[in-house]
C-alpha cells in the first residue's frame, strides 16, 4: 500500500504551517522528513496518519493494506507514549485488543514481536523500570505487533542520548533488513536521516514547503557510522537548511 500526499496545506489560527505539500510514500521504503524546528514536519506526520485534519489537500491511500494488517497507519511517538500502568507485554497487547483477536493469537503475536525486538526478558517489567532506549524499543514492538502498512515515526530517537540513539538505529536497520517495512520518519537529526532514509524530503521553514527530495541508493545495511558518501549527503542537506535553521532559531515564539 502506497500513500500519496496531494496539495496539502495547513494552518493554525490563520498562520500557515504547511503549504502545498506533494509527497509519494512508496511501499517498503523509508522516507525521512527533515527541516528546521517549527517547519510543521510533525504536523504533516499527524495529518498523514489521520490524527489531524488538513485545511486543504488530502492524503490518499493507494491500494489496500496487506493481509493480516491490523492498523495500517501506526505511530511511534517521540516520548514513547507507553501506558505506565501496563507491563511491557501489556503495552504491546494494547494495539491488538481493539481488533477482537482470540486470546491465544494475541499472546502469540506479543511473544513473537518481543522476541524480534529482544525484549522477551522484560515482558513483565513496568515502563518505570526501563531506560529510555528500552521504552522506545517497546513502542517500536507495539507498532510492529499490529503489522502496519506504514509506520509513522515522529522523532523516535530525539529523547534518547547519543549512544542509545546509535544502538536503536542499528536495531531499526536490522529490523528493516529482515522484514522491509514502509515508514515515514520525521527527524531534525540529519545523521539519522542519512542512515535510515531511502529518500529524504527537506522542508523549508514555516510555512513548510518541500525544498528538495534527496535519494540515497546505498542499502541500509551497508551504511556505516561516519561513511564518507553519507557525510557528503549530510553536508548537502545541512547546506540546504542552514540559513533557515538560523532564522527559525532567531524567531520569537508565538509572535
Amino acid at each position: 500500500m502506497d500513500l500519496r500526499v496531494e496539495g496539502l496545506s495547513h494552518a493554525y489560527d490563520g498562520m500557515a504551517v504547511l503549504d502545498g505539500i506533494d509527497l509519494d510514500i512508496a511501499t517498503g521504503r523509508i522516507l525521512c522528513l527533515v527541516g528546521p524546528s517549527g517547519c510543521g514536519k510533525s504536523t504533516l506526520l499527524r495529518i498523514i496518519g489521520g490524527l489531524e485534519r488538513p485545511v486543504s489537500g488530502q492524503v490518499m491511500q493507494l491500494g489496500t493494506p496487506p493481509e493480516g494488517c491490523l492498523n495500517p497507519l501506526t505511530y511511534v511517538f517521540q516520548d514513547f507514549a507507553l501506558l505506565p500502568w501496563r507491563s511491557v507485554a501489556g503495552n504491546v497487547r494494547l494495539g491488538l485488543e481493539a481488533h477482537g483477536l482470540p486470546e491465544a493469537r494475541m499472546a502469540e503475536i506479543v511473544s513473537d514481536v518481543l522476541a524480534r525486538t529482544n525484549l522477551s526478558d522484560f515482558a513483565e517489567a513496568l515502563p518505570k523500570q526501563l531506560s529510555g532506549g528500552m521504552k522506545q524499543r517497546v513502542a517500536i514492538a507495539r507498532a510492529l505487533a499490529v503489522n502496519p502498512a506504514v509506520m509513522l515515526l515522529d522523532e523516535p530517537l530525539s529523547a534518547l542520548d547519543a549512544q542509545t540513539r546509535e544502538l536503536l538505529m542499528e536495531d531499526l536497520v536490522s529490523l528493516w533488513t529482515r522484514a522491509p517495512f514502509t515508514a515515514v520518519y520525521v527527524t531534525h537529526n540529519l545523521a539519522e536521516a542519512v542512515r535510515l532514509g531511502h529518500s529524504i524530503a527537506v522542508l523549508s521553514r514555516r510555512p513548510g514547503r518541500i525544498r528538495e527530495i534527496v535519494h540515497i541508493d546505498k542499502p541500509l545495511a551497508d551504511r556505516i557510522h561516519m561513511d564518507a558518501e553519507l557525510e557528503s549527503t549530510q553536508e548537502h542537506l545541512w547546506n540546504l537548511m542552514r540559513e533557515e535553521a538560523r532564522a527559525a532559531d532567531a524567531e520569537l515564539l508565538n509572535a
Binding site: 501506526t74 505511530y75 507514549a81 501506558l83 494494547l94 485488543e97 481493539a98
Partner: protein, 265 residues
Amino acid sequence: MPETHAQPVPFRGGGFRPVAIRGAGLAVFASLLILTEWGTRSGWISALTLPRPSDVVKTFGELWSTGMLFKHLVPSLTRLVVGASIGVTLGVSTGILIGLFSYVRSGLVPLVAALFPIPKIALLPLFVIWFGIDEGSKYALIAFGTFTPTVVATYGAVDNVDRTLIRMGQSFGMGWFAIVRKIVLPGAMPGILSGLRISLAIGIILLVAAEMLGAEYGIGAYILEAGALYDLERLFAGVVILSALGILVSTVIGAIEKRLLNWRT
C-alpha cells in the same frame, strides 16, 4: 608557587526532604494524652474543661461491654457506606463527563462551583422533606456532601491525563469507550483516589449532621445527645470513634493506592 591555605568546601546542600519517622505520630498522641491525664488528675485542668482520658476509656469500655458500640456503629457505617457510594459513583461519572465533553463542562462546572460551598447541613430539612426522615435523607446528605469534592477531583484528574497517551490510543484505532476505560480512567486514578480521601473525610463529618434529625442510634446521634447533656466523657468517646473511622478510611485508601498505583515512579 606559595603554600596556600587549604580548607574543605563548606557543605550547603541537604534538607527540604522530610522522611517518615516511625512512631513519631504515636508519640505525639501519647504525650498529649499523658499531659491531659496528668493535668486533670493534678487539678490544673478542671473536669469541665476536658474529660479525663482514663474516664473516656472507661466510657468506651462500657459502650463495648453493653453492646451499645455496635448498635451505634452499624447504622452509622451503613449510612456512610451507602451515602458515600452513591456520592462517589455519581461524582466520578460526572467528573469524567466534565473532563471529556465541552458542553457538559461548560454547563456543569459553574453549577458544581455553586454547590460546593453550600454547607450541606443547612439543606438537611430540605432533604427530610424530599427523602423522608428515615434513612433516605441521611443517605442523600452524605451523598451530596461527597459528590461535589469527588467531581472536582475527578475532572481535574481527567484534565491531567497525558494527551499523548490518548492520541496514541486513537492512533491504534481504539474506540471511545476503550480509551476511557484503558487510558483515561487509570490515568486519572491517582487524582481520583486523593480526592476520595477528602470526600470520605467530609462524609464522616456529615455523618454527625445527618443524625441530627430522626436518628435513635448512630455515632452522630450518640455524640449529639452527649453534647446536649454536657456529658464530656461520652462526647469524647464518640469523637474518638469518628477519628478512628477517619484513620481507617485513610489507611484503606492508602492500601488501595499501593496496589493500584504501583506503576507510579
